[in-house]
Symmetry: C2
Subunit: 706 residues, 2 copies
């Protein structure tokens, strides 16, 4: 009996060991999340996530299909090592919604060996109080050196037919309105969600982009995204809408390959942020926490920027980027601009820029963006033109030196503009000279653009090749102490922690679309849940004249927002780079409303998300980093709504003056957008305000210590 | 009757006018060639060429198929203008086979309008005494601005089933042995002509590359090529082997498009060099004459180069480019080479380079090429690796400064090596720093390489994108006063007239293949008729040890050439850049034969092709530019052959010493390659020499004034 018992005991012990080996657990610091890692019988690695005791992500597979006949990294694994760790630190971002960020997680790193091939792969899980991040790592090893990914097969198995806020999966653009629907409805709504764009390529009728925002029937909010996208292809999600399982879908190169890999290497982090409180999604810092610390030793040259610009007039069609209509096309270095007839509509001329410098100076802005300053705009778009811009030669009516000196005199920076038209080789060839030109002429920030297909043809905006280019441009900019605001580039994934000179991206449907036919009036109540996870957006708000035909009679577009909503955006759509995007004439018409824009800062000490529901409303309060002032913003969806605003974030015992900019009683984003009212009140931390926002409306409040 | 006659007269006159309008003629200066341009009834432009009264090229169509639904530029044309001109000048090349080149042609420029689209296209024909060149021109115009070529449809309609010396049409390599066959036999022989290569892509079983050499049954030699390939895709030829018509086949981009065009623009020249004397083909300067004059204002830094190098040992496998075997792969900037174990076989080490510098200095060479000096060679090939080299960081055992100073002391230049592994974006990113590094360290010439697929994947070696890259590298090199020898790049098309710093290309099957299994013994009797039309080749001759296993016991390859043939190559394979490619130990074994290589110059005053037959023999005599010495070279095909050599090119009344290096009586490229004899004779312009060359043999003669 004794021996039998003993062998049972040994057996039992071995079983425990084995199950320990193939199944692993992890909890978040506060215990709300529980993750389980497990190998299936055939050696397929899986993970599963629970939130507050309920399943959030069903058992989901992990791995990679490799190109050609290379045995894939999908199954046949055993666990050969397993390490846990805890990490808890606070770090200080160069700019942000908050002055300090806490990075606290429990980590599990499982090392797998695929017996048949003797290849090693580690999956590292980090469980935070706001959710899960995990990535794959390929250590240096003999049997896995160079390999090509055919597809990454990371699953996110949903527990139900959640509501999702999605845009079509696309290799070239994110500039779509968000569609709110059940997961099972995506397929039927897909085609109508695909609106025209300068460069676009969808891949599946159930393909969507990240970050993807969802809400379960039980009121749990789930956000799927990636963090630290470096030297890898951007990840989309493809939905199996029968089983409600998302699988990663990487952006391919010109021949359909999805990743060139050389061990040692790791992938970006795949992130699942979740909470039963929508505000936690907005407040999550997981993207940043999963990125490497700041690589720029001396970041003192990096600073938030509040700017105006010569831009909206061209976007609406009332002004022109191009200088002349004389030529059917231009050839840089050959076309003689000095003898060309000006079209009389070229906005980026010396006088006009000086007007904007004056206005910026008088109104405490930092900078003026000027688009259309450089030769080549006559045929900049739609021709797959390689040598389209040289980033150095101004038009005859844009005096670089005069404006350099004038801006300096007025203590204003000019923001450089590098539209590339997708000709990235051309940009890289000119980049050192272009950045050097900036440094010599007092520009410390550049807005770059990638409008149109990426060249050479066959490439796209989001594959590994393109991601590598954006990174190259960003790191080289840092060498020149230049800040970058990259439009049409890949959406951010928390990289600004490592490279804080990345002060902005567009990579979503911005204000320009209000001049291209309009965006959904609740668009800005979705963006922070989707696009802003991973990094700020240069949304360029602040449009005061919603009827675009007033600027350009031929453009009947309408800005689907009230004026108060436009003010609120400076608070609700966090960005270290904020534009007052309208033409200055319109600000001169509403100086009382414009005062808010003048007052609102762009760098914050603290941020409190007071209430939030994707697609419906967001209210947030933020404290200025440079003073004790607070600012509150509310943006509203399509139905009128009243906010009961408690000011309990204010310091107890202090008195403040609150200036409240809100929708007029009859305001409406379409029929009466410019109806607003301004009230002034003395408030304390005990105060409550009842504010009604119109459809597509909102309110903005500046609160200063008395 | 009178009125009837009058109207007939008018009708006749009108007919003449009309036929003048739609049919045009052109003659060469000496009248041997006659070209006719004509529009077919449907407005398709055609040309036809006669030589000495007989049809050489049958009526052949011209035009372009355009992408998508754009009406093509193939038919529906009328002639709206026609201009003739004559040009006759002599110009001086910076280096060459001759000191002066005559450019004499009659020109016809026909301007066509396509009525339906109102688009204008000009075809410019230049008829020389050695043949025809023509190109398409698209003037600046309203209705043709940006367009994409789907295919160029230039025909070359053959009059019969000519014998051709061809290599398979391929978007990535020219490194094939030539096949000699009838045109109708190409299809059946195609597959066996495709030998393995690091990067290759064929497109048609009857596709061939240019320049294409042919011989008609009547003994007329015809060469088809292109000149001035700039900002356009490389042209191949696709044979309709039923009708014996070649049509141009351009190299596509990653999505299958063949040309991005923006008017005003012109295409490269399509060239037909022809003669009943094969020597005229070799002597033709048409490629250069069709290129733009020298764009480099001060060319004084450009000079021919005679060099040795650390190269053959790696090619044969006896030495190594790589430094260490410690790592499965390397990552530039991360891999620590200083602590790695040297593999003991790294050829580019300081001591070895010094030995080569010494030898070069003692033997009147100009330079030493060193391959494998820089980090990254451990995994340089076959991985589509992007960041493969940085062109700046030497291995631990290659001391840049020591060698810079040592070479300078010995009055020797080091030749830089930039292998790119096809990662052209990586090369362009590093290019300024790499060229600057060269300038700082005394290097004035670079051998560049493009081994493996061009990145990003989907690109190839010969399309417009790649051609643009080679041009970029060449022009930037000129800014740094650097000469370029580009291997695996597109084959030259006379560009060295415009950019004389392009002193070499490989772009064909060079000496390295003798270590990769061997080339056909008559290979070098074909190359001057094919590859060398358009520019010199860095063939790297001078191998004295034909049994490669003597260097590397594991390599059983055999150099299919006699030693005398190797000497002759310095005369028969013209190049301003000539390597004595063997390891110096082998030259030390045959100092008497090596003397010829020491004596032979690399820049010429005059060149006389004495006899030539493609695939069979070439004998040429050249006079040194710097002295009155003459050099003669003969290379022989597969059958033993005796040359009756008349020295009537020598100056009358003078006496010379001729040192004759020829095959021994029993020499044979395979069985007895190292059998040679050296004779010394006094000769005059009246002398005749009878010299017998072995199979794969030849002779070399240096003739100095007494």
């Amino acid at each position: 009996m004794k021996s039998l018992l003993k062998s049972n005991y040994i057996l039992y012990f071995l079983l425990i060991l084995t199950s320990w080996a193939s199944a692993q657990g992890l909890k978040s610091p506060n215990g709300n999340f529980e993750m389980a890692f497990e190998l299936l019988k055939d050696g397929t690695p899986t993970y599963q996530l629970e939130y507050k005791g309920k399943e959030l992500i069903k058992t989901s597979k992990l791995g990679f299909a490799l190109k050609d006949n290379t045995k894939s990294l999908l199954d046949g694994f055993t666990v050969v090592d397993s390490k846990t760790a805890t990490f808890n630190e606070t770090w200080v971002p160069v700019w942000g919604e908050v002055a300090e960020i806490r990075n606290h997680y429990n980590e599990l790193a499982v090392t797998l060996e695929q017996k048949e091939t003797e290849r090693i792969m580690t999956i590292r899980f980090r469980l935070f109080d706001d959710g899960l991040g995990f990535r794959y790592e390929f250590p240096q090893q003999k049997n896995l050196v160079y390999f090509v990914i055919k597809e990454e097969r990371t699953e996110f198995a949903m527990t139900g037919d959640h509501t999702a806020f999605w845009i079509p999966g696309d290799y070239d653009t994110q500039e779509y309105d968000y569609t709110e629907s059940r997961l099972t409805e995506i397929r039927g709504l897909f085609d109508s969600a695909v609106t025209p764009n300068a460069s676009q390529q969808q891949f599946s009728k159930t393909g969507v982009q990240t970050s993807l925002m969802m809400k379960t029937e039980n009121g749990v909010y789930i956000n799927l995204h990636e963090a630290a996208l470096v030297n890898y292809a951007c990840m989309h999600l493809n939905l199996d809408d029968e089983n409600l399982v998302f699988t990663s879908w990487l952006t391919p190169d010109a021949v359909g390959d999805k990743g060139q890999m050389q061990a040692p290497r790791h992938t970006p982090w795949r992130t699942i942020i979740a909470s039963d409180d929508a505000r936690d999604i907005l407040a999550s810092k997981m993207s940043y926490n999963l990125n490497e610390p700041n690589k720029i030793e001396d970041s003192s040259w990096i600073h938030p920027v509040k700017y105006i610009g010569i831009w909206w007039e061209m976007i609406t069609g009332s002004g022109s980027w191009a200088y002349t209509n004389d030529f059917p096309s231009v050839q840089l270095g050959k076309t003689d601009y000095t003898s060309a007839t000006p079209n009389g509509n070229h906005s980026a001329n010396t006088k006009h820029v000086k007007d904007y410098i004056d206005f910026a100076s008088e109104n405490d802005f930092d900078a003026v963006l000027v688009e259309g300053w450089n030769v080549g705009w006559e045929d900049w778009f739609g021709h797959h033109k390689d040598d389209v811009f040289d980033f150095l030669t101004p038009y005859p009516d844009f005096d670089v030196e005069v404006l350099r000196d004038y801006a300096k005199e007025k203590n204003i920076k000019l923001v450089m503009h590098h539209e590339t038209s997708g000709a990235v080789r051309n940009y890289e060839r000119h980049m050192d000279k272009a950045y050097g030109f900036m440094a010599e002429n007092g520009y410390d920030a550049v807005k770059s653009g990638y409008v149109g297909d990426i060249l050479p043809k066959g490439q796209n905006h989001y594959n590994q090749w393109a991601v590598n280019h954006y990174q190259y441009a960003l790191e080289k900019a840092a060498e020149y102490k230049i800040m970058v605001n990259a439009h049409e580039a890949v959406r951010p994934t928390g990289l600004a922690r490592t490279w804080p000179n990345l002060i902005g991206n567009e990579s979503a449907r911005g204000t320009e679309y209000q001049a291209f036919g309009g965006s959904k009036p609740n668009h800005v109540t979705v963006l922070p849940f989707t696009r802003l996870i991973g990094g700020p957006m240069d949304y360029t708000p602040g449009i005061f004249e919603m009827d675009v035909s007033k600027l350009n009679p031929n453009n009947k577009s309408h800005v689907n927002s009230t004026l108060a909503n436009q003010l609120a955006l400076y608070v609700t759509l966090y960005s270290p780079l904020q534009m007052a995007a309208d033409v200055i004439e319109n600000y001169k018409r509403f100086p009382d409303a414009f005062q808010f824009i003048k007052d609102v800062p762009v760098d914050w000490q603290e941020s409190h998300y007071l209430e939030a529901e994707p697609g419906k409303f967001i209210t947030v309060a933020r404290q200025d980093k440079q003073s004790n002032d607070w600012f509150v913003g509310n943006v509203n969806g399509t139905s009128e709504r009243t906010t009961s605003l408690k000011l309990d974030f204010l310091e107890k015992g202090k008195k403040y003056r609150a200036t409240i900019y809100s929708d007029g009683p009859d305001a409406h984003f379409k029929t009466n957008p410019q109806s607003y009212k301004i009230q002034s009140k003395t408030v304390t931390s005990k105060s409550k305000l009842k504010l009604t926002s119109a459809p597509g409306g909102g309110f903005a409040i500046s609160i200063t210590e008395l």
